[in-house]
């Protein structure tokens, strides 16, 4: 293994993935007030609480940090969310993590191709459950472009940092897009035109997740800890 960045052969170890999601969880938990604000404006104000409950329960498991495959990390987060959060996002964010690795073989290191494949499955899983499409003002509006960005990054053989930066930016633009949309799902759906101008809560969380992943991997790179195969 060498230590070259921006390479298509970047990988994260099981432990790094574990720590990355601890970092992601902490960032989402820190964003609780922001998510509360957003969900208050056009929903019922509990999205921040829900995400906190979900990630707190996940972090309790992740902190033990004794997984031998990445599948288990995703599954653990997914189960913690489905098992404890409730609400629309409990099932949907839980499904995101669970369906990402459902039926996958043992994953011992995470490269861009695998990351892209996982989130591709996540998107399909969430859409199968929630029936939302891009443009319905849901988390899909951030997740779908992020997944597309990852796929293109993989096709273009970008490294992990660049891939996640693209995904994160795509998610962020997706959040911006939700501001001009009328909701078709979730508690905002009944508001019709009145939701225009407000971004979607679930989409915001998606964007925070990708941004945190990006930041974590950038940190690794800075510290020279980002490995290659």
């Amino acid at each position: 293994m060498t230590n070259k960045t921006n390479s298509t052969s970047n990988i994260l170890t099981v432990e790094q993935v574990n720590n990355m999601f601890i970092y992601v969880g902490e960032k989402v938990i820190e964003s609780k007030p922001l998510l509360t604000d957003i969900d208050c404006a056009i929903g019922d104000g509990d999205h921040g609480i829900g995400m906190e409950v979900g990630f707190k329960n996940a972090l309790e498991k992740l902190e033990a940090n004794n997984y031998d495959k990445i599948n288990d990390i995703f599954a653990e987060i997914g189960k913690a969310m489905i098992g404890n959060m409730g609400g629309a996002s409990g099932v949907l964010f839980g499904t995101l993590f669970l369906s990402g690795v459902k039926g996958q073989e043992k994953i011992e290191q995470l490269d861009v191709a695998t990351l892209s494949a996982i989130f591709q499955n996540s998107l399909l899983g969430v859409q199968a459950r929630g029936k939302a499409e891009v443009g319905d003002k849901t988390m899909i509006d951030a997740l779908s472009p992020a997944v597309n960005a990852l796929r293109e990054a993989n096709e273009n053989k970008l490294g992990l940092v660049a891939s996640l930066r693209n995904a994160s930016e795509a998610a962020k633009r997706g959040v911006e897009d939700t501001k001009v949309l009328v909701a078709k799902f979730g508690r905002a759906k009944s508001l019709g035109e009145r939701v225009i101008g407000h971004q979607d809560a679930g989409a915001t969380t998606i964007s925070i997740i990708f941004e945190s992943m990006q930041n974590y991997v950038e940190e690794l790179e800075k510290k020279g800890e980002l490995l290659n195969v």
């Binding site: 509990d46 609480i49 098992g83 409730g86 409990g90 009944s190 009145r194 939701v195």
Partner: protein, 331 residues
């Protein structure tokens, strides 16, 4: 916002403990999750309701004889988890199947549907009736997308009565669906409720304004107006209902005037006075009237009017006895 609570993150757990201290002789809690149920002693079809907390006495206050058999209790304003629903399902199923009756919210359908999939794995047959009585939450064409509010009470009442008659799941479902199809509500909000774990109000409203159709979680409504006299307000609300469902001379209805939290019974009676006069003027027969705080939104001020149009069949089930600490009917 001042609240009589301890740890804001434990309100649901402590609420259920307090409820069980009062009524633990009859009510049980599922061991791992926030499920409340009574023993399905007569081995009937079980009726399970549920949803987010914060609407007390709904949902667990409508578990009882001739009512729901169990309730899956979520966090404040958050649908219960599939695990919770599944635990209650297992606790009350007597091999006759389980009917899920709950308000039509994205979070609830996602979680109940997931539970229903899990139940099928364990050979428990489930059916679902969604309550979508809130006519302000979507247009008539999109009626299937409407939310469930105080109409839950009527639909759970009928479901529980049908189950108590020993009918099979298909029949209980059919009658319950009929009750849901016959129920319409519209609400108005005067001031917001708060979420204990954030201590924040879920929406803002001007000191002299009211909002029609505002949801029981603070979802924004369809129309904001200056505060007006109760009679005028009631008139407008009734017109929304009449525009949505034909209720004419000779028809029969059950009325529920439901308070959202801090609106007083005094005000609810004043509303009921006008509701009744409007109906009587139309020649509509009033089968039964209930004025109470059944479906609340914490300390939100406001109320909803619910009408269930009843025929002989619905009346039969509506009139059957029912008993919980928060809802009762002598039959």
């Amino acid at each position: 916002m001042k609240k009589v609570i301890n740890d804001p993150n434990k309100v649901v757990q402590e609420m259920l403990e307090g409820f069980l201290y009062a009524h633990g002789n009859v009510y049980k809690k599922t061991p791992n999750e926030n499920g409340i149920y009574i023993e399905n002693e007569k081995k009937q079809v079980a009726v399970i309701t549920g949803g987010g907390s914060g609407h007390e006495p709904l949902f667990f206050g409508f578990v009882g004889e001739g009512l729901a058999t169990g309730a899956a209790v979520g966090n404040v304003f958050a649908a219960p988890t599939p695990n919770t629903i599944m635990e209650v399902t297992k606790a009350v199923d007597a091999g006759k199947g389980v009917l899920y009756v709950y308000g039509n919210y994205s979070g609830d359908t996602l979680n109940f549907d997931m539970a229903s999939e899990l139940a099928e794995f364990e050979d428990i047959h489930t059916a679902t009736v969604l309550v979508n009585d809130d006519i302000a939450s979507a247009s008539k064409e999109e009626a299937h997308n409407r939310r469930g509010i105080a109409g839950d009470v009527f639909v759970i009442k009928v479901a529980g009565a049908a189950a108590a008659e020993g009918l099979p799941l298909e029949k209980v479902t059919e009658i319950t669906q009929k009750a849901a199809n016959s129920t319409r509500s519209i609400g108005v909000a005067l001031s917001p409720g708060s979420i204990p774990s954030t201590g924040r109000y879920t929406f803002e409203i001007a000191e002299d304004e009211i909002e029609f159709g505002l949801g029981i979680h603070g979802e924004a409504g369809i129309r904001t107006e200056k505060i007006m006299e109760a009679d005028k307000l009631t008139q407008i609300m009734m017109e929304y209902i009449f525009d949505d469902i034909e209720i004419t001379e000779g028809d029969e209805v059950c009325i529920l005037v439901n308070g959202l939290g801090s609106t007083t019974l005094m005000e609810l009676f004043i509303v009921n006075r006008k509701v009744t006069e409007i109906l009587l003027e139309k020649g509509v027969k009033i089968h039964h009237t209930d004025v109470n705080n059944y479906c609340t939104t914490q300390e939100m001020a406001g109320f909803s009017i619910t009408l269930m149009k009843v025929d002989e069949e619905l009346k039969t089930y509506y009139d059957k006895p029912a008993y919980s600490p928060y809802y009762f009917k002598r039959g």
